[in-house]
Subunit: 262 residues, 2 copies
């Protein structure tokens, strides 16, 4: 068996999320269907992590094992012919399945990068309705960044995880945590060695109240010191969130996206 | 009666275009429905021009006459509560309906600005599938701009109009005609005193063949000198096109979008 790794872009709007759910169509099952049409095999497809309904991915990573002899880089082209336009494979490669150097999309992750996009205008936008959260109350970039800086480093993020999360440890390290203004849009870029369930959305929900002046940054200091869910803010809506990049020892999705250039 | 002018953003994907058609839902009828729910009146809504199915607008302009006493700037807020997320009113104002200074969304236009977006990568994008044309064959920015420059100035654009167009004159003046690279994306910005039916899409379709090296720029010289439809290239797909800005003596939609900032 060969282990094939896919780099996947998707618009999450029409899906119940990455993972198979009883209540609708998941990205995972659509890609598994395309793999079955191509290879005749019913495979298990393992992602770097699940994404919620409405969350997008510029570069999700997932692998499956196959007996197919299709050249590794041809899977991207072949699968795209069986996939809807809102799911695109941006690259495919073969990596070792087992042994010391065995690759696993989830367990081998070194860093993940997410972006949360906020449109801060009086009226909402039709064109970005599914990809940015609209907030018509003025946000202070300075206050957002005062808040964002507090997440940098290694902390117990227990207050910033969904109550139904079952993670063994809630300690994570955040390497990048920064808001930037791009025209009428405020983007939050965050990178870490891993994220708890709903962690980015709760971090953003907490910061947005600070950016609007409703809360002080001490909310975050308290939530990191006393990691109970009730000490953090609301979960920001899913549709503003995009998984942008996953880094492994073996490869970086940014390099795969670069190789997509002509 | 008061004349109310709306500045409208829409994602054209789900619609048959601006204008009411028998085969689906139009942007025009959806907005007319919202106006009727708000005012109780069945109005005629006149746009700066129609857009085809799949074409988007960042700033379409349309007006209607009403007996309603709602303050002019409140129409935007009120109508948005009755509209789907893929149609948003970005601003509203009152302008004179008749007399020497009478305003008309179509007849008073001074300049219109369109943008055509091309994603030039190996694999297509899921997130921009509805808003950019994907071309996996390398395009030369230099050749595209050699072609684009030939459209500048006043010409007979008879070769660059759909055969079923009924415009009295096919002479138009183009003020801006330029391709720019933005990462993996090539955008074509064009401004003119008016555009024939399908004119921008045929101009783009003609330039894309030149940018790929299939045709020389002489194709455009010939089509402008001998303005028959057969002398120009194919009509580029609708979904890459966005109406970005309309300029009038009375106002510029760019100023309205700026006033949308917080």
């Amino acid at each position: 068996m060969r282990r094939i790794v896919l780099i996947i872009e998707y618009r999450g709007t029409a899906y119940v999320g990455w993972q198979v759910q009883p209540n609708g169509v998941s990205v995972q099952e659509v890609i598994c269907g395309a793999i079955e049409r191509l290879t005749g095999e019913s495979v298990s497809l393992h992602a770097s992590g699940r994404t919620d309904s409405g969350v997008h991915a510029l570069a999700q990573v997932a692998h499956f094992d196959t007996g197919s002899r299709i050249p590794a880089d041809k899977f991207a082209f072949a699968l795209n012919t069986y996939l809807p336009a809102d799911i695109r494979i941006k690259g495919s490669m073969e990596l070792p399945a087992g042994g010391e150097n065995g690759f696993h999309s989830r367990f081998s992750v070194k860093k993940k990068h997410y972006r949360y996009t906020v449109l801060n205008t009086l009226h909402a936008s039709a064109l970005t309705a599914d990809t940015a959260l609209h907030i018509h109350y003025p946000l202070s970039l300075e206050r957002l960044n005062e808040a964002a800086r507090l997440f940098l480093g290694t902390h117990d993020f227990g207050a910033f995880k969904a109550v139904n999360s079952t993670a063994a440890s809630t300690v994570r390290t955040v390497y990048i945590s920064e808001w930037k203004r791009e025209g009428d849009t405020l983007v939050y870029d965050v990178a870490g060695n891993g994220f708890l369930y709903n962690m980015v959305r709760i971090m953003v929900g907490t910061m947005l109240r600070i950016g609007m002046g409703y809360d002080g940054v001490d909310i975050i200091e308290k939530a990191l010191a006393d990691p109970r869910r009730g000490n953090a803010g609301d979960t920001a809506p899913a549709h503003g969130l995009t998984l942008r990049r996953v880094e492994y020892l073996e490869f970086d999705t940014d390099d795969v996206l670069r190789s997509n250039r002509l």
